[in-house]
């Protein structure tokens, strides 16, 4: 007998922290398969923590949802940093972008391929995803399911337990490790079948990120990313980015009054504290006469531009109605000086400056 027939099969499940991937893992665990989770960090993941920088989100649980989901399932989770490798996916997606800067299909292929590599290295037999046909306009369609399996090199070792009944038989089914009748035929964007299944498994708490778990499907975030790339191009730089670059896009109000500089103004105490950590790498401004935000200036501002940044900082401070306020400006060399400025009137913050 093939030894693969007698040992306990092992599967690795892509765990996002959302409900579908939890259910998919659980459906396979129920069939006696040893399951462990894998989660990839691209740098664009919407995480409770990053959101929790803001005061308004302080009541949300501060935790890694994938880790939390894995603990609920009683499985191990392996979190893999793919920030560097992911740049190729985002910068040159073979299948293009979705509605915003989201390369969903290439991303899914990449993650499944990475999961397969991990499975091969660690002696796991197959891969599980929580994909549902028709759920996502770009990557989760009937036509894309075989593309993902083929281009990730995983072939018939990829199991989608939530919609398996619509798909061809997989290797683990042929081997008798799992039973097609114990898998599902969920399709479309309704969440009802998943909620019913969650109830059956007594899963009563799960993360429900609006718009999925990736910042790249967010219109405002995508605009900021495109602006970052345009600014780099203007400086003859490539679209390459650092993790700091892309995290900064999540924090504060972003303005580009002129091509040569960008102003990031914190929206609350939480964001001020976060931006404070970057002070040594940027020119920054803060009011000394009133309470107000922390402002970071990126790019190559002139003296005049910094004066405008100071007036904008004042505009978003408690001193916005004062005749003048005192703003401390600290440049990259660590030298500080005080500017006495008039807060910029609201109607002088031009709409086209907003990124």
């Amino acid at each position: 007998m093939n030894p693969e027939n007698i040992k306990q099969p092992k599967a690795v499940a892509l765990i996002s922290g959302g409900l579908d991937s939890m259910l998919a893992a659980r459906v396979i665990m129920e069939q006696g398969v040893h399951v462990e989770g894998i989660n990839f960090y691209t740098g664009f993941c919407v995480e409770g923590h990053t959101q929790a920088i803001r005061n308004q989100d302080k009541n949300k649980p501060k935790r890694n949802n994938a880790l939390w989901a894995a603990e609920q399932l009683g499985i191990k989770l392996h979190i893999i940093d793919i920030v560097e490798e992911y740049k190729d996916v985002l910068l040159k997606p073979k299948h293009g972008y979705g509605q915003h800067m989201n390369p969903c299909l290439d991303c899914k292929i990449f993650m499944v391929r990475k999961a397969k590599q991990w499975a091969d290295e660690n002696g796991f037999d197959f891969i599980i995803t929580g994909e549902v046909i028709g759920q996502r306009p770009m990557s989760q369609r009937k036509a894309t399911m075989p593309i993902i399996a083929k281009e990730s090199d995983v072939g018939s070792r990829l199991v989608r337990p939530l919609c398996a009944k619509f798909l061809p038989e997989t290797y683990p089914e042929k081997m008798g490790w799992i039973d097609r009748n114990k898998m599902h035929d969920i399709s479309g964007r309704s969440r009802k079948p998943q909620m019913a299944l969650a109830e059956k498994f007594a899963i009563d708490e799960y993360a429900q990120p609006a718009g999925g778990c990736c910042m790249l499907t967010n219109e405002h975030y995508s605009k900021k990313l495109v602006d970052l790339w345009q600014a780099k191009a203007a400086n003859n730089q490539t679209r390459d980015y650092t993790l700091d670059d892309i995290i900064m896009l999540k924090i504060g109000r972003h303005f580009r009054p002129k091509e040569n500089f960008k102003v990031i103004i914190s929206r609350d105490e939480g964001e001020s504290n976060f931006l404070r950590g970057y002070r040594s790498e940027f020119t920054w401004l803060e009011l000394t006469s009133h309470d107000g935000p922390l402002t970071i200036v990126d790019g190559h501002p002139t003296e005049e531009d910094l004066l405008l940044a100071a007036r904008m900082t004042a505009r978003y401070s408690q001193g916005r109605d004062a005749d003048t306020v005192e703003v401390q400006l600290t440049t990259l060399d660590g030298v500080s000086k005080i500017l006495n400025v008039e807060p910029l009137p609201a109607d002088e913050v031009l709409p086209q400056w907003h990124i």
């Binding site: 989660n39 995480e47 923590h49 929790a52 501060k62 989770l77 950590g277």
Partner: protein, 86 residues
């Protein structure tokens, strides 16, 4: 408490980077060796203890410390368990 083998500076890193760095640092240690991790992301207060439970590493200490500039740091001291993170 036994001596700290290695200290990991995970300040300013946001979720899940402190956890990824912790996971990678623990992998390189021997059973019984001790890793200290210092973070500024409050989410680590949940994530690191959860991860330790999951892999049966011993969390010897978990505490909040205030820094000189009145920021909060989260400090964890972890003894590597004998069930290696496979």
């Amino acid at each position: 408490m036994s001596e700290i083998t290695q200290t990991l500076n995970a300040r300013r890193l946001l979720c899940p980077m402190p956890l990824i760095r912790t996971q990678n640092a623990i992998k390189k240690l021997q059973f019984g060796e001790i890793l200290e991790v210092i973070c500024t992301d409050p989410g680590t207060e949940y994530d690191i203890p959860t991860w330790c439970r999951m892999y049966e590493h011993k969390l010897l200490l978990q505490e909040q410390r205030e820094t000189v500039d009145e920021m909060v740091e989260y400090c964890f001291v972890i003894e590597k368990g004998n069930k290696e993170a496979e």
